[in-house]
């Protein structure tokens, strides 16, 4: 299969572009997606190519961006609404949780909401407390929504195409820390990945690392470092926080009996909590050590680079956590 080396944001762009070419119902709306060419340049050139009908700059109105997209989706379009960064999705929380995610159920299937909300997620560039969230697990708490969190350009492409073609609302998050990182991306038009399927990104027999998005990157770096010391880590990328596919995690755990969960987000009531809870529940007899969690520190993110970096997870912290249990 033909491949091209692309950074993740170009992979996202390619997916979006292909889907817009394929299906006239697909359109983008959001702040700065048009004339400005996209805050993260994902929709670069779209306004020129597809015109203002399908590339819609919006006011700074997150409630309406999400809510109008819900209505358009119900009515038969396939909106891809961009919330510039996921921090601003807090302003659209009601539209996403109480409308996008509930309408299909509440009216007993009379309406569908084939909507994708794209949002750049993450921290690490001194964006400070209000602009440094990775709240994917918070959104994944609620049934009715899918939550996608790709870790590679190829996955980003295949998952976004799946999200756009699916009949359900999807929150599609894109790690800012991964946007510029290149990787091989299949060129064919029908590179559509299944929804809710995890991926083993590296095989190993000594410890299972479970993560998503940027956490996968740290996990792979850590795995490399650990391999030098004779510890073989299996790295599982969940890719979707909803639907959550833990089968490969359980399978892996049966052989490794040890697990570290790696998350970009805050530690409490979070991703790591859920994964650890499920492993101990379903794999109790296989546990040789407690499940460890590597998360951001439980602080609002500060501006100064030095202390911001202290607060964040990284490969070394993963290595250290692994060494506590193997």
């Amino acid at each position: 299969m033909a491949q091209k080396n692309l950074p993740m944001r170009e992979a996202v762009r390619a997916a979006l572009h292909e889907e817009m070419v394929r299906d006239d119902r697909v359109f983008v709306m959001g702040e700065e997606v048009g004339a400005w060419q996209g805050t993260h340049r994902v929709t670069r050139g779209f306004l020129e190519e597809f015109g203002a009908r399908r590339v819609r700059d919006t006011p700074i109105s997150e409630m309406a961006i999400a809510g109008v997209a819900v209505g358009a989706a119900m009515a038969g379009l396939r909106p891809v609404a961009e919330i510039m960064t996921i921090n601003f999705a807090f302003l659209a929380f009601d539209a996403i949780i109480n409308h996008a995610a509930k309408i299909h159920y509440m009216f007993n299937g009379q309406f569908t909401v084939p909507l994708v909300i794209r949002a750049a997620s993450g921290w690490g560039d001194q964006a400070t407390a209000t602009h440094s969230h990775t709240p994917e697990p918070i959104f994944a708490h609620f049934p009715g929504l899918y939550v996608a969190c790709p870790s590679t350009p190829a996955d980003a492409k295949g998952m976004l195409k799946a999200a756009i073609r699916d009949e359900n609302p999807v929150l599609f998050t894109e790690s800012i820390g991964l946007y510029r990182k290149p990787g091989p991306v299949p060129e064919e038009d029908d590179y559509v990945l299944p929804i809710g399927v995890s991926d083993v990104k590296r095989e190993g027999s000594d410890v299972t690392l479970v993560s998503y998005a940027q956490g996968v990157d740290w996990s792979l770096q850590a795995a490399k470092q650990l391999a030098d010391e004779g510890i073989e880590a299996e790295v599982i990328d969940l890719r979707w926080l909803r639907p959550l596919d833990l089968e490969p995690v359980f399978e892996s755990f049966k052989k490794t009996n040890r697990c570290v969960v790696v998350e970009e987000s805050l530690p409490h009531f979070s991703f790591g909590s859920e994964i650890a809870a499920q492993i101990q529940e379903h794999m109790f007899d296989y546990m040789d050590a407690p499940i460890k969690r590597v998360s951001a520190m439980d602080v609002p993110l500060p501006y100064a680079r030095e202390i911001e970096l202290m607060a964040l997870p990284n490969a070394q912290k993963v290595v250290d956590a692994v060494k506590e249990i193997v």
Partner: protein, 330 residues
């Protein structure tokens, strides 16, 4: 007054009369059923007093136009032609209800009727209305969305963002505020800096529609027809219908019984501005022999309501399968 006054079309007036009476009787029954605990749950918001707004405005729509509203939705549902049996079944939480018993009284909807539902989050349906209108603009039809909302809702952020976006994008929406001067127990002058709500159109450079007498179905019909016509051709309109809430905010709430002044206000509206009386008087003035027909209409409405109750009561409750269905498509 208007571009297409229908005052002389007797059949049409009689049909509106039938609808208004049916809504009133349907809801009076709901109230009763609630007090008898045959309709249960915490929320049930009656439309009593507002009927002419719903009937007159929905009548101004074509079949391929759209309507959406808040939780005070029974009247809109029936005006749009929803089967009273299935509406009542929904109130009773039955499997045969329009929303399978999963939505309840606040979430009646019918996809076939282009009635996009009642919504319980105040003003949460406004961006949906704009989104449905966007689909029509996008696909280059001339269909229009009628979005009903309360006066209280117009103070919510959703209102501002949705109306502004509809203006920037010239979306075909008629924003129709049912101004009953109150949200729960808060009077409009305590919640809105601007109490003449149509003036808010200025904030969006939007067409400012009229404030119309919401108790006179003909006036509502004419004014909404004009607004729809404008929306079809140009873009959004903001208008108001002045009306009154006869019952408490929800059936489990008290009305204003502790406030003398408001009790008198209510009595005045019921006595002098009731939509049934107003339309009845017009019909009687047109045709002095009409009384038997009006009586027949009332009796038929009673029968429809009785049948709806029976249908609903004999319907099965949803099952575990219903509980876990339709969370996701497919």
């Amino acid at each position: 007054m208007t571009m297409q006054s229908v005052t002389l079309d007797k059949q049409r007036l009689l049909d509106w009369y039938r609808q208004i009476v049916l809504i009133r009787k349907f809801e009076t029954k709901c109230d009763e059923l609630y007090r008898e605990k045959r309709i249960t749950g915490v929320y049930l918001h009656l439309y009593s007093g507002h009927e002419a707004v719903g009937v007159g405005s929905v009548a101004a729509l074509r079949q391929d136009d759209h309507v959406i509203t808040a939780y005070r939705d029974h009247g809109i549902a029936l005006a749009r032609g929803m089967d009273p049996n299935r509406a009542m079944a929904e109130m009773m939480g039955k499997r045969t209800g329009v929303s399978g018993g999963k939505g309840g009284s606040m979430h009646l909807a019918s996809r076939e009727l282009n009635f996009w539902g009642g919504y319980a989050i105040v003003a949460g349906h406004l961006p949906l209305a704009a989104g449905i209108a966007l689909k029509e603009r996008y696909t280059d039809t001339d269909n229009v969305v009628l979005c009903l909302l309360g006066d209280g809702s117009s103070n919510n952020g959703y209102f501002h963002e949705s109306l502004n976006m509809s203006a920037v994008w010239d979306l075909p929406v008629v924003w129709l505020i049912e101004n009953n001067f109150v949200g729960m127990g808060t009077r409009i002058e305590d919640s809105s800096g601007q109490t003449e709500l149509v003036k808010r159109a200025i904030a969006y450079g939007m067409k400012e529609g009229p404030r119309v007498d919401g108790q006179n179905v003909i006036e509502v019909y004419d004014a909404v027809s004009e607004a729809i016509d404008y929306a079809r051709k140009h873009g959004p309109v903001l208008m108001e219908a002045l009306t009154y809430r006869y019952k408490g905010h929800g059936v489990s709430d008290k009305q204003f019984d502790e406030r003398e002044d408001l009790r008198h206000e209510l009595e005045d509206w019921e006595a002098n501005k009731d939509p049934i009386n107003i339309l009845g008087s017009i019909l009687r003035a047109q045709d002095s022999d009409i009384e038997p027909e009006l009586t027949r209409i009332a009796a038929e409405a009673d029968a429809v309501v009785a049948e709806a109750v029976e249908y609903a009561e004999n319907s099965p409750a949803p099952t575990y399968d219903d509980l876990i269905n339709n969370i996701y498509v497919g």
